[in-house]
Structures are given as structure tokens and as C-alpha cells.
């Protein structure tokens, strides 16, 4: 099964009007009893996410708040029918947890941990493809459908309901840019963290494929950074597919030195590969303006929307 053809991300996360669990799709949290997992399970719940189960080996049968905990993903999936999992385990345990999730029928894996070894990410990405599933991340803040639900660690405040899509390689910049969009009256239909690692289960091109031909989306903001060639490839993709909705970009790291890893594993420039200049030049070819600061994003987007 090819990735692009499987579930539409909105029908996975939110569902269709006719579903009994419309806007209340069950989500499993792997690592729910850890301090990180439990804190965010609570925050997700209060945002409206249906946290249906948690998994922590050895703690099966107990409860977190009123959420039942299972020892294995298989049990949790059988009990809840969930196809979404938020993985909150530490990076060294990610591979095992993710593989177990995919083996149990999870179709959307939101991989939160930072510092996952690259080979583990590649293996899980390929395994997900084999299983007809999708991974978001790793090293992602997750995904939020403002006003409805979120699977991840993003704060609620920056996001408001609307028609713009935000894709971001950085967590805090996704919040910052969404905050400026919201303040300018540009709410978001979806904000999705690509992740700050060199390997992204859902990369920018995959992300664009997820939202093509949607009437409830009027524009896209892509928050990128130095390193790799994701922005360059996206520019080609936009040109090739004739993506017509307004797209505005931001790129962090213009002033960063070469060959230094700037916090994210993926944010490093070698020669011209991964440089901000290369990204800005390629975006220009695709008629995607690049904001100089997060604050400038809504201004550029409004100009584009008026055209």
C-alpha cells in the first residue's frame, strides 16, 4: 500500500460527520506513566483529545486518571479500536515501542522523542510504509487540529481554528508562527510538526500531499530551517504539481555558521547543502515568499491571500 493513498489525515484524527466517534477518535499513549507522558496525556485530554488507553509494560490493569493502562499495544488496540498512537517513551526505547505499535495495527504514529538514532528512524519509516501506516516525527511536537484535538506536546494557546495549514520542522517556531497567525486573524486548520531530525516519517512533500484538494484549507505556511534539502525538494514539488493555494515560508538559521549542529540533529549546513540561501533561491522559483521573522509571516500571507 502506498503512503499517499492511505487514510486522509483528517479522517484519521477527526473522522467523518457520520462516525459515532466523530471528533473523538481514540488515541493511545505509549509511555503514559512517565513524567513526560503523563503530563501531556492530561493536557491533551483537557484539550479535547480522546485518550482512550495508555501502555506501560508492567503496569497493565492499573489506571492513569480514568484511562486504562495495558501492558502491550496489542491489548490496548483490541480494547479501544484505536489506530493513533502518541509515543512518549525515551529515544533508546523508541524503536521497540514503535515497532510494537505498527505490529498491533496502529496507522498513525506520532513520534515525540528527540535523539532517536537515525537508523531506528529509517527502519520504522520503512516498516510503517510496509504496514500502510504513517509516522509523524520523530523529534516532533506532534499534530494539532485547533479547537478539536491534539496528539503531542504543543501548548494550546497559540492555536486558533481557521483555514491555514502550518507545517514546521521546529517545535517552538510552530507555536511562535501560529501565535502570530492567530493574532492576525489567520486561524489554523491543522498544525503539524515535521520534526527536527534528518529523517522525517512525514516530510514536507508528504505533508503537502495530505492537504491537497481540501476546500477547508486556504493557505499553507511552511516553517523550515537550515540543513538538508527538504525545502528545495518541496519547491520542486510545488512547481511540478501546480499547487495553487498561497504558500508562505519561514527559514530559521540564516545567520548560523556552517558545519555546526544548531540544536536540532538535522540543522547543519555542509558547503552549500542545507544553506538558507539555497532554500530561499529555490522557494523563489516556486513563488513562495520567505519571511524574515516569524512576525512577518502573517503579513506575507495576507498579501498572498488578497491576490
Amino acid at each position: 500500500m502506498k503512503l499517499n493513498n492511505i487514510y486522509n489525515i483528517f479522517s484519521i484524527l477527526v473522522g467523518n460527520n457520520s462516525d459515532v466517534d466523530y471528533e473523538k477518535k481514540p488515541v493511545i499513549i505509549q509511555g503514559i506513566t512517565g513524567s513526560f507522558g503523563s503530563k501531556h496525556a492530561n493536557l491533551m485530554k483537557s484539550y479535547g483529545t480522546n485518550i482512550a488507553a495508555g501502555v506501560t509494560p508492567g503496569k497493565g490493569g492499573s489506571k492513569f486518571e480514568d484511562v486504562p493502562i495495558y501492558n502491550t499495544m496489542k491489548e490496548a488496540v483490541e480494547a479501544t479500536g484505536s489506530v493513533i498512537s502518541g509515543v512518549f517513551v525515551p529515544a533508546p526505547f523508541f524503536y521497540k515501542a514503535a515497532k510494537e505499535a505498527l505490529d498491533s495495527g496502529i496507522k498513525l504514529l506520532v513520534a515525540i522523542p528527540e535523539h532517536v538514532p537515525i537508523i531506528d528512524s529509517i527502519k520504522i519509516f520503512q516498516y510503517a510504509e510496509e504496514k500502510g501506516a504513517r509516522m509523524i516525527g520523530p523529534n516532533t511536537p506532534g499534530v494539532i487540529v485547533p479547537g478539536i484535538m491534539k496528539v503531542g506536546i504543543m501548548p494550546a494557546q497559540p492555536f486558533t481554528k481557521g483555514q491555514t495549514i502550518v507545517f514546521s520542522r521546529s517545535g517552538t517556531l510552530m507555536y511562535e508562527v501560529s501565535h502570530h497567525l492567530s493574532n492576525s486573524g489567520l486561524g489554523q486548520r491543522l498544525a503539524l510538526g515535521i520534526g527536527g531530525d534528518p529523517i522525517n516519517g512525514t516530510n514536507l512533500i508528504d505533508s503537502f500531499n495530505l492537504i491537497q484538494n481540501r476546500d477547508d484549507v486556504d493557505s499553507v505556511v511552511v516553517v523550515g530551517e537550515i540543513g538538508g534539502d527538504a525545502e528545495e525538494m518541496l519547491a520542486d514539488h510545488i512547481i511540478k504539481t501546480g499547487f495553487t493555494k498561497p504558500v508562505v515560508a519561514y527559514i530559521a538559521g540564516r545567520a548560523a555558521p556552517k558545519e555546526k549542529r544548531m540544536g536540532h540533529a538535522g540543522a547543519i549546513v555542509y558547503g552549500t547543502y542545507g544553506s538558507a540561501d539555497s532554500k530561499i533561491t529555490n522557494y523563489a522559483r516556486a513563488d513562495v515568499p520567505v519571511a524574515k521573522s516569524p512576525r512577518e509571516v502573517p503579513l506575507l500571507l495576507k498579501t498572498k491571500l488578497r491576490k
Binding site: 493536557l43 529515544a91 533508546p92 528527540e114 535523539h115 532517536v116 538514532p117 537515525i118 537508523i119 529509517i122 519509516f125 520503512q126 506536546i153 501548548p155 494557546q157 497559540p158 514546521s168 520542522r169 521546529s170 517545535g171 517552538t172 517556531l173 510552530m174 507555536y175 511562535e176 501565535h179 527536527g196 534528518p198 529523517i199 522525517n200 516530510n203 516553517v223 530551517e225 537550515i226 538538508g228 534539502d229 527538504a230 525538494m233 519561514y250 530559521a252 538559521g253 540564516r254 545567520a255 548560523a256 555558521p257 558545519e259 555546526k260 549542529r261 544548531m262 540544536g263 536540532h264 540533529a265 538535522g266 540543522a267 558547503g271 552549500t272 547543502y273 521573522s293 516569524p294 512576525r295
Partner: protein, 370 residues
Amino acid sequence: MRLLEYQGKELFSQVGINIPESILAQNIDSAKMAAEKLGFPFVLKSQLTVGGRGKAGAIQKCKDYSELESKFDELVHKEVKGELPRGILLEKMVEIVKEIYLSVFLNRSKRCYSIIASSEGGVDIEQTENKVILNVSIDGITGEQSNEVAVKLDIPPELRTKFVDLLNSLFRVIIEKEAELAEINPLAIVSNGSFVALDAKVIIDDNALFRHTDLQKYLFLTDLEKQASDNGFSFVELDGDIAIIGNGAGLVMSTLDMVTDANGTAGSFLDFGGRATSETIYEALKVISRIPKIKAILVNLFGGIVRTDLVAQGILDAYKNNILKVPVYARISGAESERAKELLKGSDAKLFDTVEEAINAVVLKVTSNI
């Protein structure tokens, strides 16, 4: 983690890739002993993690003891792109018949590893058109693929088997050592018909180091980097005088860009990650306080979960305990910001509502100080 040449060659050697005879020397005495063992002539090679050694004159031929004395001393003190060598490698020369380029690297957009090969060795691979790129499975390079590369590189038929072995060995470095890049440039075919790696550029996946105890010895951090890393911070020292601290790599990079746009110069980059508490900011300020060139600190925190009053308390504590002697300009978006402002009143720390205002103030401060 980018390995030094000799470290990369140690890994090559472990998987059966030929390297020239060589000895690492840290001082002139050990260099003389090494010279005695190797015999003149040989090449002196600065061990650096930055590229462009050859052009910078950090690789030099050496034919006798008097040259060794002068050139060794020259290289030890020669900075390349701001970096001093961590040792000098003395390496025997080989009789080169042909030089080629060969590497396996992490192909980010294809989400796999790829081979790059070129029949022109020693060149900047980005600049040359004459190259072949092949994506390979993590399960290994197929015989067909190895052959394809061998043919494109014009490897003589009698050397094909050796070449295929070499390519597989290089791939083992990627998989077994969890490298993002394993590059041999140049790879020499020498007069006796074997392949020899004349250089080694290997980048190890830092996130996989926890399961490679044999590679941990290569980890090289300055005292400051070590202190930052022990606290879980991402830290990069830069050339300017404004220290930038924030939560999230993207946000700190973005702040660095805006400071640069406002004609300020950043002296350090510090991302303390997801936890913004009084302790994390305190520890971050402790790291920064050890950099003498820093004249002011810019703090940019964003996140609904951040308690700004706790962050303010951490800053106050740093002043109280005399850790901090320079002013702090902060934009902290989050809960309890009124209380935070109240706390910082009368201190050398100022809170701003927007990052732009904080940047203007900090740049004005450091430029008016000169």
C-alpha cells in the same frame, strides 16, 4: 560527531579497508620517534574537523629531521577556520596510479543511504558533475549495484572483486558504527593493484553513541560544551558578544538571525529544550557566565506551559549568587508575566513584550558600550 582523519581511518582499518602506514603525534618528541619508525619521506597532516586543510597549507610533505622540526611546529600552531589541530598525523606516501572519490551518506530526502562515486578523486564532490549516485537498502548493497559503480568508475576488471569488497566494507562503517557519512576522498589505486584510503571523513550519529561504547572515546567537547551537554543543553559558541538563550532550537536560531539583522553579533547559541524552570535558566546562565566576551544576554522563551515567574526567579538567583554580571534582556511569553515583571524590577534584567523590542534594546546596549 565528525571524526578526525586518523579516527576515521581506525574505523576503516577495523572493517578491512587499507590505509597508509601512519602514526599520530602530539608533540615534536613523539613525532621524531614516529619518523624513525616510518622513515622519511612522509606527509604531515593536521588533524582537524574542518575541511579545506590542503588549501590552507595544513598538509605538508616532509623529507628530513630539519623539515620535521620546522613544519611540525608550524602545523601545530596553524589555525584552519578558527580550529587548532588535535594532533598531527605522520603518514607514508603511496605510489598512486589513479585517484577516485567514494562515499556512502545519509540521503535525507530519500530517507535511505546512498553511494556517491566519481572517477575524479580529490575534488570537491559538490562541484563535480561527473558522479554517480545510487540509493541502497539498509540490508546491504546488491552485487548489481556494486558492479554498476565499478563500471562507472572504470575500475579495471581484475580489481573489481577488491572494489566490491571495499564498497561493502565502507557500507559496514555506516551500519555498524551508525555513521551519517563515510567518505574516502581520495581513494587511491596504488601500483601493486590494491585500494588505499588516503583520507577519511566519517560523521557519527550522535544520537546512537549510547550504544557504541567503542566510539565514545572520540567525543571531544570543550569544558563549556561539556557543562552544557551535562545539563542537556544544545550549545554552540560563536564570535560575537551577545549570548542567546531560548527554549527550542528553531526559536534560538530565529533569534540569532534577528539579532544579526539588527546589526548585533551573537556570542553563543544555547537551547535548553523543553523544560523552562528556574533551575534550567540558572544553569544556562552559569554556562554563559564563563564566556568572558559576552556583554549581554538575550533570553527568548516561548510556550504556553512556561511559567515566566519561575524563569524570572532563576535570573534573579543568578544575580544574587554573583554568577551573573552582565545585563539580561528577556522576552518570555507564558503564564504569570505580570508577576515576573514585578520580580525583576530593580535588577539588571529587563522583560519585554516582543522579541523585537528585546533585540533592539540588547543591541543598543552592547554597541553603546564600545
